[in-house]
Each structure stands twice: as C-alpha cells, then as structure tokens.
C-alpha cells in the first residue's frame, strides 16, 4: 500500500486527492478540500435582502445560480409572492447563460489540457497560447453579456429580488441578447461539434454521438485512445432537483428506475468523516450524482441515452453530457428571448410584502446550477435572517463517505490505474471547491 497526495489545480479553487495505491490500482481515495469562508454565518443577523448580495459571493463561476436559489428561498419564506411571466423568463435566461459560460470554460480550460499532460500534441488547447483555448475564453465572455444586459454585470449581479427583477428593458435589449446567443450557437456548431445546424439536429434526434466532429470528436478519439470511455463510473444514481424550462425537469434515477419526482423530505445531511470539512448529503439514504449527466439523462437527450447505454456514467459520458448540454440550453434561451417580445409591457417587479419587519418564515430555494442541484434554506424572523443553509452540487458529488457509502466522486476514482486519470475523473465532475467550502 502506498499513499500519494496530489494537489489539483485547474479546478474552481483547490482540492487535494489522497490516493491509496495497491496492486497497481487505486484501492481507496479521499478528496480533501481546504478552508471555509463562513458565508452562512455572515448572513445571520442581517436583513434578508442582504443575502441577495452576499450569497453570489459563494462562487465566482456560479454566483448567479446562488442568487437565483437565494431569491427563491426568500420568496418561499415571504409567501404568496406574485411574479410576472416576464420576470420569470428573464431569470431563467440569465441562469441558463451562466451554465453555458461554465461549460465552455470547463471543457476548454480544464478538461482538454489534461490530454497534453497525457502526452498528446494538441497545441491549440495549450493554456495562455492555444488558439482554441483563446477562442473559448472569447465565447464564454460573449455569452455572459446577456446576463449584463438584464442583470447589470457578471460575475456577481444581484438583480433578482423577491417580487421580480430590478431591471426593465426594451426590444433592442432583447435583440442584442439574441445576437449574442446566435454567435455562441455558431461557436458551438463550428468548433464544438464541427457541423452545420441541420446536420447536428439530425444526428441529435438519432443520438449518433459517434458522428460528431469538431472538438468533441477529437475528445472522443482521445478518450478511446487512452481507454477513458469506460472508466470513472460511480453509482449510476442520478438526481436533478431544479428545473430549466422546457428542457430540464426534476427527477431521479435509482440505477434501475427513472422517476419524474423528487421528495424533498428525503434529502438529508449526515455526519462527515474526520478527513473532510465537507458535509455528506444523501437522498433516501443513498449517494446520488447531480449535474449535467443527471439532467441530460433524465431529460432523455438522445446522445446521452445512447452513451449511457454503452458506457454508463463513465468519464466520457459525463464530459459529453456537460458539453452537449450547451446546445439544449442555447436552444431554450433563444426560444425564451423570442418569448420576451410579447411580454415587454409587463411589470418587472411587484412589491411582495407590506412591512419588512413583519416578514417571518422559513423558505427553500432549489435551482439547477452548472454543476447540478443547488439548495438554499433560510429562516427569517421579523425581517432578519436567523439561519441560512446551503447545499451545493459539489457537496452531492465531491462530498466524502458516510458510514455506509463512499462519496460519489470517490467511488468513481477507485479502480483507476493511472494518477492522471484519477485527476481527470475528478475534474469530470467539474470540481468547485469554493462552493463546497462556502
């Protein structure tokens, strides 16, 4: 038995992998994530509206999802909050945009450069220099302009408030957003899958992932060359709690049965082992994976259905699910942006309470963030936050073992034969340690 410690970069924050080797493969693994920033404690004792500013600061790459979970939790606590269709749609659009930004950066900045470390000569993906690397940064910085149009800025907007959104806009704002969405769709078609829209749509409806060209085609070839198409499977239990209308709905897959429902009372946190400061979260007592693989599998993406059938929840399937989700999200955004034209005259906001001192209650907000299901819970007494609690997607995926079961990512790494593969499988979950240690 040999213990190897590896510090991971190219993730959000830092993470340490402790690999226990024996007989040439990983026998056991512990994922350690350092230092917490105490954000939940900062919120206690503050007026509840402050949470809209402070919770996005949990995470630089998915702060907008925290804003959305927060506003939902506050609205739930206030009770009977009326929202216009316009406000709902805009919130949905900006939340989805943040996911696209994340997925582009993650694939080009975190995933592909790993193959350089495996000895592949793919200079286009080299950090700071590669053509593709730079193009991806450009595309991700383009798409977040849509959040800026409606929400003022990205990162760290606080434009969603109980009762609606703070901004109002014109048709020319919608038009600018549509042009940006279109340019990112072009990037997806030209670079990510290497084909025109018609071709892509026809392959999509038949789930023919083997036909994809572009950078995803290159990725598939590299996976097969390095035997990564089958490794990195975890429990094959998948969960999605939030909704991205119309393409993603809540549900879970037990490994045998697909269920279009989720019972919130079955989500429980249990004690974590001494090596980890991260909590353990279980659904019905069992570990579940959340994120794009869960979303795309549960929403019957034809590509992911076929991939899952062939390779289960492997490294390759997980990466493909996240990358191909970009298209599903872009499609939804374009549809919603067109939908906004008819709603332009609706108010952006209704004031949802009489007196702030009279607001008391408990609330829960659940949304889909880039990495999966994000849950905020708040207790408010006379307008002041008395308790705030966050379960991030990374807690589901990267959280440690409980008494009975290994963590989801831990399970996926055991059995691998190469330390770089261990890092890659961990990265396939899109590690966000800053979220995990809020």
């Amino acid at each position: 038995m040999r213990i190897e410690k590896r510090l991971l970069s190219r993730v959000e924050g830092t993470a340490e992998l402790e690999l226990i080797w024996g007989n040439g493969y990983v026998q056991d693994v512990k994922i350690k994530i350092p230092s917490s920033r105490g954000i939940e404690r900062v919120l206690e004792g503050r007026p509840f509206m402050d949470a809209l500013v402070i919770t996005p600061r949990v995470c630089g790459i998915c702060g907008h999802a925290h804003l959305m979970a927060c506003v939902k939790a506050l609205e739930d606590a206030i009770g009977n909050v009326k929202l216009t269709q316009k406000a709902k749609l805009v919130r949905d659009i900006t939340l989805t945009v943040e996911m696209i930004q994340n997925h582009i950066k993650w694939f080009y900045l975190f995933v592909m450069p790993d193959f350089i470390r495996l000895g592949e000569k793919i200079e286009d993906f080299e950090p700071f220099k590669g053509k593709k690397w730079k193009k991806a940064i450009n595309a991700s910085s383009q798409v977040v302009k849509i959040i800026a149009i409606f929400g003022g800025q990205w990162p760290h907007s606080s434009y969603a408030v109980p009762g609606g959104i703070t901004s109002n806009f014109t048709t020319s704002d919608i038009s600018r957003a549509l042009s940006i969405a279109e340019s990112v769709a072009e990037f997806f078609l030209e670079d990510v899958v290497g084909m025109d829209e018609e071709g892509f749509r026809s392959f999509r409806s038949a789930g023919l992932w083997e036909e994809l060209k572009g950078d995803i085609g290159l990725f598939v070839n590299l996976c097969i060359k390095h035997k990564l198409e089958k490794v990195g499977s975890s429990y094959g239990r998948l969960l999605t709690g939030g909704e991205v209308f119309p393409c993603i709905t809540p549900g879970h897959f037990t490994g045998e049965k697909k269920l279009c429902s989720l019972n919130l009372s079955k989500i429980k946190e249990v004690g974590s082992p001494s090596y980890s400061s991260v909590k353990v979260v279980r659904y019905n007592g069992l570990p579940y994976e959340t994120g794009p693989l869960s979303r795309q599998f549960l929403s019957n993406n034809p590509f992911i259905k076929k991939l899952y059938k062939a390779y289960k929840d492997s490294y390759m399937t997980r990466v493909m699910a996240r990358l191909l989700e970009i298209w599903e999200l872009l499609d939804a955004i374009r549809e919603k942006l067109y939908g906004l034209y008819a709603l332009i005259k609706e108010p952006s906001y209704y004031h949802p309470y009489q007196k702030v001192e009279k607001v008391s209650g408990e609330g829960l907000g659940m949304v889909e963030a880039a990495r999966g299901t994000l849950i905020h819970r708040v207790h408010i007494s006379k307008g002041i936050i008395t308790k705030y609690h966050i379960i991030t997607p990374s807690v589901w995926n990267l959280g440690p073992r409980c008494e009975k079961y290994l963590g989801v990512a831990e399970k996926a790494i055991i059995g691998l034969e190469h330390p770089l593969h261990a890092e890659m499988v961990l990265r396939s979950f899109d590690v966000c340690s800053v979220c995990t240690t809020h």
């Binding site: 920033r37 402050d50 950090p127 977040v144 800025q153």
Partner: protein, 285 residues
C-alpha cells in the same frame, strides 16, 4: 514581464472577471503568465520553489483572496516580487472571509485598519506598496490596465488606500443613466424601473463609492445601477455593509450624504430640485 497569480480565501470571482476581458488575449502577447491555479498545467509547488531559489524572476505577483495572518509563503513572495497587486476586495481588505474570522485579513489592510499580512510600511522591490484593485470583483479593465502599465515601466499613482487613482478617483455614479433623477431628487416608484435614482430609498452607494463602473461598464454592456440594482459600494472597505438595499434616514435626510456635500447644501439644493423637477422625469414612460 513574468506574472504569477495565486489564490487564497476566494470565490475566484476576480479570475472570472479577468477572463471576461475582451482584450485579455491581447495582453497574453505582452506578458508571460508563469502560473495561474485555475489555468496552468504546471505544478505550483515546483514553480514557487524555483522563484524562491531565484531561478525564475518574479516581476509581478497578483493575489486573489483574503489571507490568514500567518501566511509566510505569500509574505515571502511579496518581498521577492518587483510589484504586488491585491486583486479584489478580499485580497485588499479581507472582505467576506474576514467578517467572522479575526485571523483573516487583506495584504496590507484589514477593513480600514492599515497593516494586514505585510504591515503598514511594506514596499515591494519596485518601490510601491501593494497596488490595491478593490471591488467584488475588480473590473477586468482595471486589472489589465495596471498589468500593462507596469509592463511598460509606468508606476500608477495611488490613493490613500493604495488604489490606482486612474480608476478610483471618480464616484461610481459618474456616468450612471439615473444621474438626472439624482439631480432632481426623483425616486423610482418601485424596483424594476428604468427611471428614478436609487440613492434615496434603495441604499445606492454610487455617490459614496469610488470606481469607474459606470464609465467603462461591465462586460462592455451595462452596470448594476443602470440595471436598477443599487451600487453596494463593493470597492470600499466597509463592503458588505448591513442593510444593503436600504437608505438609512435621519431626520428625513439620508444619514450619509454624497461625498463632499454638506448637510446645509443638500437641504437647500434638494428643496429647490424637488420644486422645479421637470414633469418628463416624474412619470413612468
């Protein structure tokens, strides 16, 4: 110029702010990033040991995130680097991570107290204190602008908080599309409006905060105040204040007035402004 970017207690928001910069790729032609934890392939430890041994020259150290007061590694590197930038309010003042932990601070400040990790008198080899780019996050153009100046041998002039005057000498409300409403003292009827100034009722810190957000805009598009969200004063040491969406009132006046405005002057001007405010500003649409 060799640039090293390190992270401590941080949400990585400044990294993502920087990656939004449309000219970031152009900067990469001019400066050499030795290492960035979110982006590099190389190992951090090897590089840092090469730097401390003097094998690799460190021209600019950029730190993102608050630090623990006993972080010797960062301290050592700050003394090796020609220049040091603290990027974002966590690295500058300690910010959110320092609120509930007395052992956490910024590089040269803890909120408004001078000192921090490096002490009040710290000056890097190049002859400047820590260059503070406050903001939660810092605007990418501030980051890129200062890196490029330093690479051309131009030392930025700094204000009393060590921030480049170029970006932190005008108030956030300069360039805000709601300025006319500010002048005539017109509040919005509610949130969600294109009209009305958010200073009077919604806690906007625009007239009390130094930044160029409304002149250079975020993501090249917009700003919080333009989008109807109050400025929360995130470039200042007291961010995040308690009651971020509220304007504290005292005897019918905002408890805090715009920087440099006297109470007497404010009362006189606002009386006149309210009386003569043009009708076109008062109605929605």
């Amino acid at each position: 110029m060799n640039v090293l970017w390190l992270q401590r207690l941080s949400c990585c928001g400044n990294t993502h702010s920087l990656l939004n910069c449309e000219t970031f790729n152009a900067l990469l032609k001019e400066v050499n990033f030795l290492f960035h934890p979110s982006l590099s392939l190389e190992s951090e430890e090897e590089l840092l040991s090469d730097i401390t041994k003097g094998n690799v020259k460190l021209d600019l150290l950029i730190l993102e995130g608050a630090v623990k007061m006993d972080d010797q590694r960062i301290k050592e590197l700050c003394y090796i680097a020609e220049y040091v930038i603290a990027v974002g309010s966590c690295a500058v003042y300690g910010n959110v991570p320092a609120l509930k932990d007395g052992n956490v601070c910024g590089l040269q400040y803890r909120f408004k107290e001078k000192g921090g990790l490096l002490g009040e008198d710290f000056v890097s080899k190049g002859g400047l204190p820590v260059i503070n780019l406050s903001g939660c996050p810092a605007h990418p153009e501030w980051i890129v602008g200062v890196i490029r100046s330093l690479s051309k041998g131009i030392k930025p002039a700094l204000d009393s908080f060590g921030r480049p005057k170029e970006f932190y000498s005008s108030l956030t409300h300069w360039g805000c599309t709601r300025n006319e409403y500010f002048e005539w003292k017109i509040e919005p009827e509610s949130l969600g409006s294109k009209k009305g100034c958010l200073f009077y009722n919604y806690g906007c810190r625009g007239p009390m905060t130094y930044s160029s957000c409304n002149t250079i805009l975020w993501n090249g598009m917009n700003s919080k105040t333009r989008a109807g969200t109050p400025c929360f004063g995130c470039t200042e040491f007291d961010f995040p204040r308690v009651g971020l969406f509220e304007t504290k009132q005292f005897a019918g006046l905002p408890a805090e007035l715009p920087i440099g405005v006297s109470k007497r002057g404010y009362i006189m001007l606002s009386g006149v402004a309210k009386m003569f405010a043009p009708e076109r500003l008062k109605s929605e649409d």
